[in-house]
Structures are given as structure tokens and as C-alpha cells.
Subunit: 242 residues, 2 copies
Amino acid sequence: MLFFTQCFGAVLDLIHLRFQHYKAKRVFSAAGQLVCVVNPTHSLKYAPTRCAAVQASTEQGILPPCHHHEVVHDPQLVPCTCPLFSCPWEGHLEVVVSHLRQTHCINILQGAEIVFLATDMHLPAPTDWIIMHSCLGHQFLLVLRKQEKYEGHPQFFATMMLIGTPTQADNFTYRLELNRNQRRLKWEATPRSILECVDSVISDGDCLVLNTSLAQLFSDNGSLAIGIAITTSKVHSSEAEM
Amino acid sequence: MLFFTQCFGAVLDLIHLRFQHYKAKRVFSAAGQLVCVVNPTHSLKYAPTRCAAVQASTEQGILPPCHHHEVVHDPQLVPCTCPLFSCPWEGHLEVVVSHLRQTHCINILQGAEIVFLATDMHLPAPTDWIIMHSCLGHQFLLVLRKQEKYEGHPQFFATMMLIGTPTQADNFTYRLELNRNQRRLKWEATPRSILECVDSVISDGDCLVLNTSLAQLFSDNGSLAIGIAITTSKVHSSEAEM
């Protein structure tokens, strides 16, 4: 009897997942767009040592870019950039992707335009939804974070980081788009380099920010569909060269 | 001597205003767009009686549309919709525009696309920036409000209301766009009717919401340029008819 109940539950879950997938595709009607269902990860602890310097300066109202120079002796080495865990790993930029995939089980998706479907938006802060996105010959990390910047008032922050240097990041523009109920919200910016700290980008507020009420308006049955597009930005690269 | 100092100050103010106007035009590069410099109005008091019912229900977590039926006996009469003052005026929808212009000195601008340049963004909350916008045969009210929804954390809320009925409002789509420093934020929605209360739209969070940090990123020398465009939305009108 228990076996049949479990089977029935699994089938219901599959139907629900398929339905969510269909709805996200319908919202972003461009044919052929890849929809990726991303489950949340409740952040048990935020890296206390990794970004301590940044957090201290943020509290004082100063917001310098976090290049991790305080902890990385070899400037070619990058500490683990996954915002979820206080991971002691350090490595070269070229092996960050394989580390994130293997150690932190972060999925990687191909394609210039994808739909990121974050489930269970109601979960308490801090919670992260993370995916890697491969396109235009580079890998990007999309982080959606639910965080209480002001106690008792959780907000959602979404940003895209290039797994590359700041100079490489200047060559791209990313777009995040929410579209539901005759409302549309678009954020376009140059991605930050993963050498900068995701925590500092969020403290800075230099990303897509959603209040809980706005997130609810765009959510459908507890899931938030974010359309993502990455393009090269020739203007930005020429400006960076100047 | 004092006269010359005052003259010099006035000339400097004019140069500064001209410079701001030029910068806003440069940001929104579409030729021929009208730039309107909007000065803030510090809201000394919010209408305590007008929206009391809405505020009470908002505090309880219920957000019904505010149709003012509690205070308006004749459903054809509209109480004064200017969010700045607790104005006892009531009148028919057709004369709201002239009341707002004459009694509250709110400017009216023509054109499908305009740039709203709000000055002195640093002023403490509550502060409003208001303009009327005439296009497509109707008048719209743009309200930008700085408000402390959470004590000590001011936010900016921008919304557009049609000076007309909810059915008429369903025929339009408005777009607010911020564009600066390789960042772009766009909000598109159906305008609300002025018969609904602007306070409830803001409490609802069903508008463009900016944290102070994001507002600073888009501001230039204390002024925020918002590109506004209004279009007719055939889809919405056909949906409303169904």
C-alpha cells in the first residue's frame, strides 16, 4: 500500500514538473528556448572568511570591488566562487567550471537564450538558486538569492557573473526578463567577473532587485520564470579599451 | 552687491538646469523627445481620511482596490486624486485634470514619449514628483514617490495612472525606462485607473520599485531621468471585453 502511495506521489511530482515547464515556455513564447527548472539550496552558512573584508567595508558604507587579494597569494588562483558554501578550494580560472560542477553539483546549460525557472520561492531566506550558463564561448554563473538585507523584509537579488576576468566581462551584456500578468520587468547590464564577490554585488544592489510583493506578482504557483539572454557588446569593449 | 550676487546665482541655476536637460536628452538619445524637469514636493501630510479604509486593510495584509466608495456618495464623483494633499475636493472625472492643474499646479505635457527628470533625489522621504502626461487622447498622472515602507530604508516607487475608468485603463500599456552606466531597467504594465488609490498601488508594490542604491546607480548628480512611453494595447482591450 505504501509502495503504491509513493508511486502515485512520484507520478504527481512528474506531472507538476512537466506542467511548470510548459507554463514557463508559454510565458516566454520564443520557440526553442530551453527551460531549466532550478531547485533552491538553503544556504546554511555564508562564507564568513572569504568575504569578511568586503562585508566589513560594506557595513562602513564603502563598497570596493572584492578581488580576494587579501586571501589569494597567487593572483592567478581563484577561491571557490560558489556563493553557497564556505569552500576552502582555490584554483586557476580555467578549472573553476569543473570544480563547480563536480564539487557543488551546479548544472550547466547551453544556448544564448534560456529560461531559468526557480521553484519554491516561498522558502525562507537565505536561499540561493544557481545555474551555470554556457554561450558565446564563455561560461556564466546565474545567482538568484533570497536575502534579508533589512531584517524581516526578504528581497530577491539576481545577477550574472562571467567565469573570466573583468576585461573579458566587459565584452558582454546580459538581460534578465520577468513577464507575467501584463507586466514586464527587464534588467540589462554588463556581467561582473567571478573574481569580484557575488556578495558585494548584492550588497551594492547593482543587480535585479525584487521586493517580495513584486516577486509574488511575477511568480506562478511558487515558481519564478526568468528569461536570460547574453549578447556581445562591442561598444562596451571599445570603451574598455579607451 | 546683494543684487549682483542674486543675479549671479540665478544665472548659475539656469546653466545647471540647461546642463541637466542636455544630459537627460543624451541618455535617451531618441531625437525630439521632450525632457521635463520635475521638482520634488515634500509631502507634509498624507491624506488621512481619503485612503484610511485602504491603509487599514493593507496593514491587515489584504489589498483590495480602493474605489473610494466609502466616501463618495455619487459614484460619478471622484475625490481629489493628487497624492500630495488631503484635499477635500470632489468632482466628476472630466474636471479632475483642470482641478489638478489649477489647484495643485501640476504641469501637463504632450507627446507619446517623454523624459521625466526628477531632481533632488536625496531629499528625505516622504517626497513626491508628479506630472500629468497627455497622449493618445487621454491624460495620465505619473507619480514618483520616495517612501519609507520599512523604517530607515527609503525606496522609490514609480507608477502611471489613467485619469479615466479601469475599463479605459485596460486599453493602454505604459513603459518606464532607466538607462545609465551600461545598465538598463524597464518596467511595463497596464496603467491603473485614478479611481484606484495611488497609495494602494504603492503598498501593493505593483509598480517600478527602486532601492536607494539602485536609484543612486541610475541618478546623475542627484537627478533621475525616467523615459516614459505609452502605447495602446489591443490585446488587453480584447481581453477586457471577453
